[in-house]
């Protein structure tokens, strides 16, 4: 999309530096309260955060956590109750309705249900925001053609939305949202109505929008996998509050809050649950250890060289390595076969550079420390009342293990003994996701 103002601002995009002078969006102690009859619901409760220019910022939370309200405060579809929202240097909470319309025109938005106009063709849908912005007719046509080309549905220009698949509709939605060269794109559960494969396509398109056009994207989702694949930073919301905020890789490797742990567990299913561990011990005679794989510890190559150095055979029996924020992350559960003292030295050596969970053998089983914590509190299920309590309970274990403690460590972590998906990873070191 040459000649567009957006392409001139941040041509390369990608993960931005944190030293950006002015945040794309700044929330300062923002509260939004809805009053329905006698009930008062605090949808957003004292949120302060910055969305950096040029990044893909994720906001994750369960339904009702306030994330959809939060994103609507950015384009003032909802007005704050208190606090201020600063968009691109302008405090929009003080603006009148007609000025707000101008601000909105500079912020694109895409939706879970696409929200295309069924009475207009694909081309007319994309042209709509240009009409609102007062573009002359000839320029509109050229811009629409360019946008449809960019999102890859140029051949559907004259179709009506009813004839399109979900993925195609969302592409139209993205083309429409980008029409007026916005600096910010808000994606409200944009992939939640799509199948897994289409979700990948749409996320890839969003990453391209960010990288090639330099558009700052705020992604609202309840799927940690979306955050894992698309976002640079993430805020975890619960009951209107931001309970955790940080670099996606850090949040994945060291989740602090209970809610974060559960979200991380849904996206990573690399660690064997207790019942899986039992079956692994029964099937394999050697010592079973789970070895963390991440960028800092130097990937699985270092595992291989360490095994060789100690003359121990290692067989991968479970695990998974995937990408988190475009960097490798995961764990491998390995059966170690060799002289007892060599295995002992090997494990000590591995511990020096990465996280190791020793699961022992069938004769001498060892428990995963985080599972012990879990077993001490059998009454703590995934019910909402225990969400925040879980963070404290698991605290020490999270500190011992530099990463991955959330996989099934947190109370109510979804990778429990009854998780059917966990079994698929047996003897699979690759990335299934």
């Amino acid at each position: 999309m040459s000649g567009t103002p957006a392409s001139g601002t941040t041509p390369t995009g990608g993960p931005p530096s944190t030293t950006t002078a002015q945040p794309a969006v700044r929330f300062v102690d923002v509260t939004k309260t809805f009053v329905t009859g006698k009930h008062e619901v605090r949808a957003v409760d004292g949120v302060s955060l910055d969305v950096h220019a040029g990044e893909i910022f994720g906001v994750i939370g369960y339904s009702g956590a306030g994330k959809s309200t939060l994103v609507r405060l950015i384009n003032a579809l909802e007005k704050v109750t208190s606090g201020s929202v600063v968009v691109d240097g302008t405090d929009i909470t003080t603006l009148g309705e007609s000025k707000l319309r101008h601000v909105r025109a500079g912020i694109g938005m895409i939706f879970q249900q696409f929200n295309l106009m069924s009475s207009r063709t694909v081309a007319a849908n994309v042209a709509y925001p240009l009409k609102v912005a007062g573009w002359p007719k000839e320029e509109r046509a050229a811009r629409v053609a360019e946008l449809l080309e960019f999102v890859g549905i140029a051949d559907k220009a004259r179709q009506y939305p009813a004839r399109l698949s979900g993925g195609q509709k969302q592409r139209v939605g993205i083309a429409r949202a980008l029409a007026t060269n916005p600096k910010i794109l808000l994606a409200d559960e944009a992939t939640s109505a799509l199948d897994p494969e289409t979700t990948q396509d749409v996320l890839a398109l969003l990453r391209r929008v960010n990288r090639e056009l330099g558009v700052t994207i705020v992604v609202i989702t309840h799927e940690m996998d979306v955050v894992r694949q698309a976002c640079h930073r993430v805020a975890v919301m619960e009951e209107g509050k931001v309970v955790e905020l940080g670099d996606v890789y850090q949040v994945f490797s060291a989740p602090r809050h209970g809610a974060t742990r559960r979200f991380v567990a849904t996206a990573l299913k690399d660690r064997p649950a207790p019942d899986v561990v039992e079956r692994l011990r029964a099937r394999h005679t050697g010592r079973i250890v789970t070895v963390g794989i991440d960028e800092a510890s130097g990937s699985s190559a270092r595992l291989t060289s360490t095994l060789r150095a100690h003359g121990v055979d290692g067989t991968v029996v479970y695990g998974g390595i995937t990408e988190v924020a475009e960097r490798p992350y995961g764990s491998l559960t390995v059966e170690l076969v060799g002289p007892d003292d060599a295995v002992e030295r090997l494990v000590a050596d591995l511990r020096s550079f990465t996280d190791v969970v020793d699961l022992g053998t069938a004769a001498r089983p060892l428990d995963d420390p985080s599972v012990v914590v879990h077993a001490d509190h059998p009454e703590e299920g995934p019910d909402p009342e225990h969400r925040s309590a879980g963070a404290e309970t698991i605290g020490p274990a999270g500190g011992v293990r530099p990463f991955g403690s959330g996989v099934f460590g947190g109370p109510g972590g979804s990778v429990g003994g009854n998780d059917p998906a966990a079994g698929r990873h047996i003897v699979d070191g690759g990335d299934e996701r």
């Binding site: 939706f111 009409k131 912005a133």
Partner: protein, 218 residues
């Protein structure tokens, strides 16, 4: 009375009916559309939420709509006098029909607009569209097919109202059927008028269905 003399009278009656129906549909249709839009945009949760405007229109519609038309004509006599200058005649009847049609159509419009996906309206707001632009470029186009069917329904209702015009000396097909059919024991005249009305209704309904299908891109 022979058909030689009846036919010119029938043609005149047909013309009177068309006059009443078309003016009512034109003026009442526009007024009803505006009232219906007013109801929709002012209702709770809508983008121009305003309980005063909503309640005024809502109560007015609820008062006018259930009144049998023959009683309504008489009841608004003073208003008709003030606006048209007389209480009888085709203009007086057309005035009463227009008022009634506007209130009936207001409710039909409101019902059809309610079925629009609110997400589409939110998307237009997010693009910076003004309320007026949303009304004319989102609400009406998105609800066009049901609006056409509602308008077709209104046409038939208005044709029905026009049969009462004879009571105020308004003429029309209804009056013709009463005067030259029923009162003269001329069964043929009554049947002829019924056939004409049925044909008109069929044609209009066919036209409405066709246009609605074209407007519906599913």
């Amino acid at each position: 009375m022979s058909w030689d003399r009846l036919v010119p009278l029938l043609v005149e009656a047909f013309g009177q009916t068309m006059y009443m129906v078309l003016i009512t549909l034109g003026v009442g249709g526009v007024a009803g559309l505006l009232l219906g839009l007013g109801l929709y945009v002012s209702r709770q949760g809508s983008f121009l939420q305003n309980s005063v405007v909503f309640n005024v229109i809502n109560v007015a519609v609820n008062i006018v709509r259930p009144i049998p038309f023959i009683i309504f004509i008489v009841a608004i006599g003073p208003l008709t006098q003030a606006v048209v200058g007389r209480r009888i005649g085709i203009e007086a009847v057309t005035f009463a029909m227009t008022i009634m049609a506007a209130f009936v159509f207001a409710r039909l419009v409101e019902q059809n607009l309610v079925s629009i996906d609110p997400g589409v309206i939110e998307a237009a707001r997010a693009m910076g569209a003004s309320p007026l632009r949303i009304i004319f470029t989102v609400l009406i186009p998105e609800a066009l097919a049901p609006l056409i069917l509602g308008y077709t329904f209104l046409f038939i209702g208005v044709l029905d109202m026009s049969a009462m015009a004879g009571y105020l000396g308004g003429g029309g097909l209804g009056d013709f059927a009463i005067v030259y059919g029923y009162r003269q024991y001329n069964w043929e005249v009554t049947v002829a008028v019924v056939v004409i009305i049925v044909v008109i209704v069929q044609l209009v309904q066919w036209l409405g269905n066709t246009l609605a299908r074209k407007a519906l891109h599913r």
